[in-house]
Symmetry: C2
Subunit: 253 residues, 2 copies
C-alpha cells in the first residue's frame, strides 16, 4: 500500500469531487464477498447443514473481533465527537444496559444464530471450529486498526456500504432454502440492516471529508476499502477451503 | 518492574489472603498525590488564582487521556463481560446520548471547571498551558495501557481507591478558600464521588481475583499501583515546578 506520508503530498492528479469519490468507493462493491462462490452457494441454498454451521461458527471469530477493533480505533482517536459516535458500534456488538435501556448486543445475537443452526453456545464461543486461515484474515483486520492511523481504520469500515444487501439476501432466502434453521436466528441480520445503514452514514461522511484533502489520499482510501474487502473474501476462502478439504477426506457432510 | 512471566511462576512466599492483599493495596494510599506539597497547598487555600488555573489547565491533559486509555484497555480485552462494565468509564468521560438519556460527560464538566476558575474554553481545550513534563507523566499512563496486558492496565486504575477523598476535600475547601471560583465548577468533583466509588468496586474485585493467582502476581499489582501513583505525583511535580520557575523568573502570579 501507498505510504501515508507520500499520500499526503499533493500530486498532479485532480482531487475527485465528493460524488466521484463516493462513486469510486461504491464501485468496489463488485468485489464484496456477496459474490464469493461460498456466499453465492449459500444464497442459492446449496450448503449442507454442516457447511452452514461451519460458516456460523467461523464467522463468530469476526463478530467478537469487531468491538476489539472499534476500541482500537477509539484508543487512537483524540476527537471526542468522533469517539462519541464510534462507541455506539461497541455498544451494538457487546450489548449494554444503561438507565433501563437494555440490548443484549450483536455477539449474543450471533450465538443465538448458532443455536438456530444447531450449534450449542459452547460450540460457538469455544471457537473450536474456527480454522487458522479464518483467524489470520480477521486478525489482519484487527491489526490494521491497531497499527494504522485511526482515520484509515475508519475508512476500512466502509464495507458496511454493501452489508445491508447481503443481510437482506439472507433474510429473504434462508426461510425457503434452509427451512431447518430456526427463524429467530435471523434476528442478527435484521438488527444489522438498521445499524449498518446508520454506521455507514458516519464512516462515509468522515472518509469523504478527511481523504479528500488530496487525490493521493482518496486513492489510499480506495486501497484501504479493497484491503477490507480482501479480509472478508479471505474469510470466505478459508471457510470454503476447509470444507472442501473435509469433503476430499471423505468426511460426512 | 518485575517481568510478568516471572511473576506468573509460583514463588515460595505464601499468597496473601484477599483481606491482606486489599489492605496492602490500600496502604499505598500514603503516596497518593493528596499528600503532594502542591495539593496540600491547594487544600490549604495557598494557591494564587493563576496557580489554580494552571493546575486546571494542565490536568485537562489527564482528563482527555482517560477515555483513550480506557479504549486501549478494551482493545486488548477479549472478555465481553469486562468490556461491558469498562465501557461505562468512556461514556462517563466522553458523555453520551442514548435513548433519551443524556450526559455531557466528565471532559465537558472539566471545561466548565476551567471556565469557573477564569479560563476560556479555548484556553483549556487548546492545551496551550500544558507543560511538557505533565504530558510525559500522562503519556506514561496511556502507554502503559497500550503496551501492557489489559489485566495490568485494569490494576493501574486503582488509584480510584483514594480519589473520593481528594474530590471531597476540594468540594469542602474550595468555597471557603477560593471564593472567586464559581460554585458550579465543582460539579466535576461531585460527579466523580459516585462514579469513582462504582468504578473502583469493579477494578478492585478484578484485581483481587486475577492477581491472587500467585504471590508474585500480587506483588506485581502493588508495583503497578505504585507506578500509577507516581504518574499522579509526577503530574503534580510538573505543575508545581513550572509555577516555581515562573515565580523565579519574576513573572506576575
Amino acid at each position: 500500500m501507498t505510504d501515508l506520508h507520500l499520500a499526503l503530498l499533493k500530486d498532479d492528479r485532480p482531487v475527485l469531487s465528493p460524488e466521484e469519490f463516493e462513486a469510486r468507493l461504491r464501485e468496489k462493491g463488485t468485489s464484496y464477498h456477496i459474490y464469493h462462490p461460498f456466499h453465492v452457494r449459500m444464497a442459492e441454498g446449496q450448503l449442507t447443514e454442516k457447511q452452514l454451521r461451519g460458516w456460523v461458527a467461523n464467522r463468530f471469530y469476526y463478530q467478537i473481533a469487531i468491538p476489539v477493533k472499534d476500541a482500537a480505533i477509539m484508543s487512537h482517536c483524540p476527537d471526542r465527537e468522533i469517539r462519541r459516535e464510534w462507541i455506539q458500534r461497541i455498544l451494538d456488538h457487546d450489548g449494554y444496559e444503561i438507565g433501563g435501556i437494555k440490548d443484549p448486543g450483536g455477539i449474543e445475537a450471533w450465538i443465538h444464530l448458532g443455536e438456530a443452526v444447531g450449534l450449542s453456545r459452547d460450540d460457538v464461543t469455544s471457537l473450536r471450529y474456527v480454522v487458522p486461515a479464518a483467524r489470520f484474515a480477521v486478525d489482519a483486520y484487527i491489526n490494521f486498526a491497531r497499527q494504522q492511523p485511526w482515520q484509515e481504520a475508519i475508512a476500512s469500515s466502509l464495507t458496511e456500504l454493501f452489508a445491508p444487501h447481503i443481510h437482506q439476501q439472507r433474510i429473504d432466502t434462508w426461510p425457503e432454502k434452509y427451512p431447518w434453521v430456526k427463524l429467530e436466528g435471523l434476528q442478527y441480520f435484521k438488527n444489522r440492516l438498521t445499524q449498518a445503514r446508520r454506521d455507514v452514514q458516519h464512516g462515509l461522511r468522515f472518509t469523504l471529508d478527511y481523504f479528500s484533502q488530496s487525490r493521493a489520499l482518496q486513492e489510499r482510501a480506495l486501497e484501504i476499502l479493497q484491503f477490507k474487502l480482501d479480509v472478508l473474501w479471505g474469510l470466505a476462502d478459508a471457510i470454503m477451503l476447509s470444507q472442501c478439504e473435509m469433503e476430499m477426506k471423505g468426511e460426512k457432510q
